[in-house]
Symmetry: C2
DNA sequence: GATGCGCATGTGGTCTGACCACAGGAGGAA
DNA sequence: TTCCTCCTGTGGTCAGACCACATGCGCATC
């Protein structure tokens, strides 16, 4: 009795994934380091290369590694730890699969974004130059709604990035990316794009002004009204994404 | 010239992933539905089964599908859309890979949790029974720190769940899971576990009381002080998880 | 006719081996 | 010394095979 054929209680790809996670936790691997070649990792762990590939694929989608073919220092699987992609992927797919209702994503923005704005206002250090530059770009006349909304989305993410907090930035990016398609699809619901875009621009300026003046309560209230106002006007939360009724 | 050997600009597994995402978005697939068998999906898309498996593996880790062997209605890949696992996985691995510094996770809690508490206090409907039950469980004398902290973590997640918002719940669960190990490791830093646990219990009661009385500002302040106080006392943010210095 | 059991079937899980495209570097030729 | 050309190692993909498993059909039995 030396090795029953019924061995793999733990699935092979999970063995590979947990092995890599353990090496990350131990500090054995860090950003910039290369993962061992797939063939060698498979041999070391006693699993097939295809199982290792499944683990690496997960890490790639989660934004932990970047893979490249060829040879040299830029090739192979390199640990990058860029969370935006992973957060966006999980939120976007959960919205697509109806795990996250659109209304919950919108409500989460209404809870989180004002809190970030108030947090920014309270902080001593904050870099709002990127956000301000985006506001200037949105003042260019004749922008298409899609262009304007792309800048708008980047502005909201830039506010989170101004905090210098990677978790808040990635979360905001995920919240935004997950409903991007639905926001664009709801533009025709607006009674007047010109009026709405002008109002959004003014509100953006007011938000930045409130943050810069250090008035966290005012900044939070303005952001809440800004987000809630737009979603109410474009009627996104009402009946989009509901194919079951 | 009929089919160059240099064809795959888009990687095969991404073709499969985007195909499934498109069917989700179109409402063609939803929670409870079965994905086509891997072999058939591979044949339909013109890719190898291993490539389909990589896509399914990603969906599984992201909490979108559950796979089971065998035959019958419970076998195969079923869409489940349970976001907690995916959010926890991405945050936990990002923390492990130093993409999310511990300090940023803690700060994110300090920003998000008080906002959720205030949101709860403002809402008319909220179900705090689960949270209260956990507080009762934490009053049992003689709990080990690990047991107490497990209940504590569930209490904080239960507060988010009381909002009924899946996005907020999953985000809080992810924030909590990602630093669970570091919280446990920092228990010895506490000057007195008995004093600390007694204080935490009292603060929890105060938070719930503030929420139930509808005082959002008070609830937010109490939650901020509660989280900040514990992290300061256990000195988690200072130098844990930093293997580079 | 009702009942119980065993095997055919279809599913995911894994492994093996092979080939391709690619990028870099070593080594030889000019 | 410089340039060019293969060789090498990497990920990306495919094909085919086998296994474990859970179901459910169909046959034999009562």
């Amino acid at each position: 009795m030396t090795e029953q054929p019924t061995a793999p209680i733990a699935r092979a790809w999970r063995v590979a994934l947990e092995h890599i996670e353990a090496r990350l936790l131990a500090g054995d691997l860090g950003p910039g380091d290369h993962l061992p070649p797939e063939r060698q990792l498979a041999a070391d762990l006693g699993v097939a290369r295809s199982s290792v590939r499944e683990a690496v694929r997960v890490l790639e989608v989660l934004g932990l590694v970047r893979t490249a073919t060829g040879s040299g220092p830029n090739a192979g699987a390199v640990i990058v730890a860029s969370p935006e992609g992973g957060m966006s992927a999980v939120m976007r797919l959960q919205v697509a699969a109806h795990g996250f209702p659109i209304a919950d994503v919108v409500e989460a923005r209404l809870v989180v974004e004002p809190a970030i704005a108030a947090h920014l206002a309270r902080r001593a250090e904050r870099d709002l130059r990127q956000a301000s530059a985006l506001l200037d770009a949105m003042d260019v006349p004749g922008l298409e709604p899609a262009e304007f909304l792309a800048l708008d989305a980047r502005f909201h993410v830039a506010l989170a990035e101004a905090s210098g907090n990677t978790v808040l930035s990635a979360t905001m990016a995920g919240l935004r990316d997950s409903i991007e398609g639905y926001v664009l699809a709801a533009v025709p619901n607006l009674p007047s794009w010109l009026a709405t875009s002008a109002r959004l621009r003014a509100e953006h300026r007011g938000i930045v002004r409130a943050i810069e003046s250090g008035d966290g309560t005012d900044a939070a209230q303005r952001l809440h009204a800004h987000v809630a106002g737009y979603y109410a006007e474009s009627r996104i939360t009402s009946d989009t994404n509901d194919t079951t009724r």
